[in-house]
């Protein structure tokens, strides 16, 4: 029972990662559709995709940081 907080923190981080994976997957998918429609604009689409992916990953990492806080700052 004393390690419950570690397990819950890891679970929370995993949930955050699920959200990130779905988000980035959707971004990638729309980028692919857009490039298929208009191959000339692929440079701009790629840049926008990378930026959006980095922002979504940033949010997922907030979740990871919250999980780390849950593990490391447990009062005895």
């Amino acid at each position: 029972m004393e390690y419950l907080h570690i397990g819950l923190a890891a679970l929370g981080a995993g949930l955050a990662v699920i959200g990130a994976a779905i988000g980035v997957g959707k971004i990638g998918g729309s980028a692919m559709d857009a490039i298929a429609r208009q191959p000339e604009a692929s440079g701009k689409i790629q840049t926008a995709m990378i930026i959006a992916a980095a922002l979504v990953e940033g949010v997922a990492l907030f979740g990871v940081v919250a999980a780390l806080l849950g593990v490391l700052t447990v009062p005895a």
Binding site: I51, A54, E57, G58, L61, F62, V65, A76
Partner: protein, 360 residues
């Protein structure tokens, strides 16, 4: 007969599979006291700050570069080299200077109270009779930042002096550097801040971009310091952006933040609170994004290599090292991407602050 090339491939694979049959032996006469391998401690030691630059080895016979410890205590400035602690980070070894006693507890320096000769701990292993003085030491991260600063000064002064002397396009490394400088100007500064005002913020954007990128890259080398993975460093970077936003916000920006026009009056105070919180949260998000990305990357690489020691088999290296290689290549991309995202979002926030609104 098997062809020459296929034979080479088969022999290489056969040799590469040999480590799978090896196992680390515990009864090794070369090692005196085999401590249980603690992965958490190893990882935290590698991503944390330290008062000496540790390369390899453990405890007394480790190869560590000592760095200066500079403390501002009630009795003035105290300086000494971190080698005086003799590799002790558990608070045992006491260093006496000017009648004051100092210990190193988990890479934090504590000053013992008057008359105390050793640290007393409470239940949670916090010191009871010691306090931290103002610590201005050159720690590992500070030294690494100085290295980045020296690199940046060298490469940019070379580029600037080239342009002072010549009118034609530069070649070689100068050309590469100029590509990135123009990238920051044309893809980040001009679109986000606008043609009229971008020049004023170019020095800040260029400095932040190259500082973060170079520091991230250096942090990937073995034995290097984890600078941008230190929350204090990213807090400072986020603070710079916040200060720039607040100083350069024009009247329209503040009017829209604090007392948004075009909204019924009873909603305005709520919106003010939301906007002010948003103003602070945006640089905080920048800071956490950079910190978490870089630290997470380092932890993954360290965990993969640490797996070899947790499972105590050299054969695991056949899986760990290629994975760690793959993650390291990804980290190269992340190093650039995080620098780019930080700079772009800073430019975006500054652009929003200095934007001229057309009046309805």
């Amino acid at each position: 007969m098997i062809a020459q090339k296929s034979l080479k491939i088969i022999v290489t694979f056969a040799l590469a599979l040999l480590p799978v049959f090896s196992f680390a032996s515990k009864e090794d006469s070369l090692v005196e006291a085999e401590k249980e391998f603690n992965a958490t401690d190893m990882i935290l030691h590698h991503i944390g700050d330290a008062h000496g630059w540790h390369f390899y080895g453990e405890g007394e016979n480790s190869f560590t570069l000592p760095l200066p410890v500079i403390l501002y205590t009630d009795n003035g400035l105290v300086t000494f080299m971190s080698s005086e602690f003799h590799h002790d980070t558990e608070g045992h070894h006491v260093v006496e200077k000017n009648g004051m006693s100092f210990v190193n507890l988990h890479e934090k320096i504590y000053q013992l109270e008057e008359g105390a000769h050793e640290v007393e701990f409470d239940k949670e292993h916090h010191p009871l009779n010691a306090e931290r003085p103002i610590d201005l030491s050159i720690t590992k991260n500070v030294a690494a930042m100085f290295i980045t600063v020296i690199i940046m000064l060298i490469i940019f002064s070379r580029l600037a002096s080239f342009h002072k002397k010549n009118k034609h396009a530069p070649k070689g490394f100068n050309n590469l550097l100029e590509t990135f400088v123009l990238f920051v100007r044309d893809e980040i500064a001009k679109p986000q801040i606008g043609e009229k005002k971008y020049m004023k913020f170019m020095p800040f954007l260029l400095t932040v971009f190259f500082f973060i990128w170079i520091t991230n890259l250096i942090g990937l080398l073995p034995g290097a310091a984890n600078v941008t993975g230190n929350i204090a460093v990213t807090v400072s970077l986020g603070l710079f952006t916040l200060v720039l936003i607040v100083i350069n916000g024009n009247k329209d920006f503040w009017k829209h933040t604090l007392w948004m026009p075009g909204i019924p009056t009873f909603v305005k105070p709520i919106l003010t609170i939301v906007e002010v919180v948003g103003l602070i949260v945006k640089p905080v998000a920048l800071m956490i994004r950079l910190f978490a990305n870089i630290t997470a990357g380092h932890i993954i690489i360290l965990s993969l290599i640490g797996l070899i020691f947790i499972l105590e088999s050299a054969g695991v290296a056949g899986i760990s090292v290629p994975f760690a290689l793959f993650i390291s290549v990804l980290e190269l991309l992340v190093a650039f991407l995080q620098a780019f995202i930080f700079t772009m979002l800073s430019a975006l926030f500054i652009g929003m602050a200095v934007q001229e609104h057309e009046h309805h």
